[in-house]
């Protein structure tokens, strides 16, 4: 009998007689099974390949064809196409009413197809709020009131995305405290990327409203922002445009820096919390990468750098870290703004750091003193011709004297002579210069002391005491 004439029954009989044939038969069965499995896996993609998945992938990758693909899918009647297309329109709207209106109608369409679909409900509420925001505060409040009932209709009302959106609505309705409680709680399940971004953004805003520390939330919101990092040119554009949406996360972060680090209203205010808060601010601001010139990830734009580093310096002074504060103020001074306030703060921080440097190397002490002197000089030179800032000039000159007085009266005298014409108080000027001559053991100090007394210096007793010493001839 030829092999081709064998029937299955014959094969079984042969297999039963021969061990080798049995092996072949088992092999063939196993092979058939394996081949079926491999075929199923191999062609799973082909069998289940739906254009919908391709459209979704394009949406997430932001391929240029995404919009077209999703439109085609929608016209073919795919259930989810409307939601994705609506999300696409919403994300690309950038405040344009037409696109937002299209997004709203597409979300509504998705809800008609699948009533209560959570993603569609969340999208619809977000798009409606955005649309109302473009129209003004009145319509926004109305939309917020309507949003509550819309969110109740979601299939999964406990989804973190719904909860976070509800909290955002609460903020709009003036219930920031409740919103903070909701948003501060850890979610039971992982929210969507957009949901999580919304959580931190709204938490930062709510905390600002209730005067709590918004910085960690603002930093996270910044990490999860919708837009790519702006380039240097875009940053320039944004600072000129003032209110572009792309710069919003950065603006929130910058406000949070200033509020958390140097505003006394920011709670909690106990020393430990304050220290923690300031250290967090310092670390994220000081983040540097090898070779990078344009600053760290959380660095403020150049136009805002001075005020933010100044805020950091003030925060560090509040926790008595004067040396670190001086570094922060130095960065503020290097910024674009030439506000003498930053130089004054640098000088004060260095002056306050001096007592803490008693055990430091002499060079460090000298450098700190020099920095303080330079800072005060800078202030005095900047405001010397500005009559509105006479008190600032006086403060700078007086502080400069307190540093130089003990070391080198000659320098102090030079300073006082330099600013004689603009120094706002003749009484203090005479007293100060008298004290410097006194320290230098020059009898001319008597004349200045007497002049100060004549003009009515408040420390008359102290001046009299010094004059008494000179008159007794104890001091020559």
């Amino acid at each position: 009998m030829k092999a081709s004439e064998l029937t299955a029954g014959d094969l079984m009989k042969i297999a039963a007689r021969s061990g080798m044939s049995l092996l072949f038969l088992v092999g063939a069965v196993v092979f058939t099974l394996l081949a079926t499995v491999v075929l199923a896996i191999t062609f799973q993609d082909v069998l289940l390949q739906d254009a919908m998945q391709e459209g979704v992938d394009s949406f997430y990758r932001r391929d240029p064809a995404a919009s077209r693909q999703l439109r085609n899918l929608r016209s073919e009647g795919h259930d989810s196409a409307s939601v994705f297309l609506a999300a696409y329109e919403y994300e690309n709207a950038r405040g344009e009413k037409d696109k937002l209106t299209t997004a709203v109608s597409l979300f509504e369409e998705a809800l008609k197809q699948q009533p209560g679909r959570t993603s569609a409900v969340v999208g619809l509420v977000a798009a409606k709020l955005k649309l109302a925001e473009a129209e003004g505060l009145g319509p926004l409040k109305e939309a917020a009131k309507e949003a509550g009932s819309l969110l109740e209709g979601a299939l999964n009302p406990k989804s973190p995305d719904v909860v976070y959106l509800q909290a955002a609505v609460d903020i709009l309705l003036g219930n920031a405290k409740e919103a903070v409680e909701v948003l501060d709680e850890d979610p039971s399940e992982a929210p969507s990327s957009e949901g999580q971004g919304a959580r931190w953004w709204n938490l930062a805003v709510a905390k600002l409203l209730v005067s709590e520390d918004p910085l960690p939330a603002a930093a996270r919101a910044y990490n999860l922002r919708r837009w790519p990092l702006p380039t240097a040119d875009q940053r320039k554009e944004d600072s000129n445009a003032g209110l572009s949406e792309r710069a919003d996360p950065e603006r929130l972060l910058n406000i949070s820096y200033r509020f958390a680090l140097c505003d006394p209203a920011c709670t909690p205010t106990d020393a430990e919390e304050l220290e923690k808060r300031v250290e967090f601010g310092r670390r994220i601001l000081d983040q540097r990468f090898a070779g990078r010139r344009d600053g760290g990830r959380y660095s403020p734009p150049r136009t805002r750098a001075a005020e933010i580093y100044n805020a950091l310096g003030v925060g560090l002074c509040r926790v008595e870290r004067y040396q670190d504060a001086a570094i922060a103020f130095e960065q503020a001074v290097r910024g674009q703004s030439k506000d003498p306030l930053y130089s004054m703060n640098l000088g004060v921080a260095c002056t306050l750091a001096l007592p803490t440097l008693s055990t430091a190397p002499a060079q460090q002490l000298k450098n700190t003193k020099d920095t303080a002197c330079r800072a005060y000089e800078n202030v005095a030179l900047t405001v010397r011709n500005d009559k509105k800032h006479l008190s600032t000039l006086k403060l700078a000159v007086d502080n400069l004297l307190t540093i130089d007085y003990a070391n080198d009266p000659g320098k102090g005298l030079a300073v006082l002579r330099k600013y004689r014409q603009v120094y706002p108080s003749k009484v203090d000027w005479n007293r100060n210069i008298g004290a410097l001559f006194d320290w230098a053991n020059k009898p001319i100090c008597i004349r200045h002391y007497e002049k100060a007394l004549e003009l009515g210096h408040p420390d008359a007793v102290g001046i009299q005491e010094r004059l008494g010493l000179w008159n007794k001839g104890k001091k020559k």
Binding site: T42, F289, G291, R297
Partner: protein
């Protein structure tokens, strides 16, 4: 047909099916990124076979896998290493990466930044958190989740298992 012939034919068919499966599951990927942040695992203009990630769920992506992706925040295709998957809490403090509060033994990292700080984040649903291996190089953070945010699984095009020789520990020696 002789029984031996059936087996031979079967092997041929199996090889053919295997080839089709491999062809459908893998892509030949050329790493043409201008900036290389995953050396020595990936060299400039180097080529490797990467598993096609279409239709794969978040749970299929292993930690330490290298992935090629393109998100809405990046205009180009990028490569990064998965450090945390959906639902895990990731934070970076100095040179260390923490996942769910535990320090990650990150054997692939090259250069790190002591000043680095990334506040704790729950990796969102359907996403993974990727980092480059050379993390302290200028601009490296602009090309991973630190700046681009968590990467949606749908945005991943190819993945390279950490068990593959050039992704594994052996390649580092």
């Amino acid at each position: 047909m002789k029984p031996e012939g059936v087996v031979f034919f079967g092997i041929l068919v199996a090889l053919f099916l295997g080839l089709i499966w491999w062809w459908r599951a893998y892509d030949l990927v050329t790493f043409d990124e201008k900036l290389q942040f995953n050396q020595p695992m990936i060299e400039k203009d180097g080529t490797r076979f990467g598993r096609r990630a279409t239709r794969r769920r978040a749970s299929d992506i292993e930690r330490y896998s290298l992935v090629r992706y393109k998100t809405k925040r990046s205009s180009v295709i990028l490569t990064g290493r998965v450090m945390a998957v959906e639902g895990e809490r990731i934070s970076i403090d100095g040179a260390e990466v923490y996942v769910d509060g535990q320090k990650v033994r990150d054997q692939y990292r090259r250069r790190t930044n002591e000043n680095e700080i990334y506040p704790e984040l729950i990796v969102p649903a359907g996403c993974v958190f990727v980092l480059t291996d050379v993390r302290n190089r200028k601009g490296a953070d602009r090309y991973d989740s630190r700046n681009l945010g968590p990467v949606p699984v749908e945005a991943i095009m190819n993945s390279f298992s950490p068990k593959e020789p050039r992704s594994g520990k052996k390649a580092l020696r």
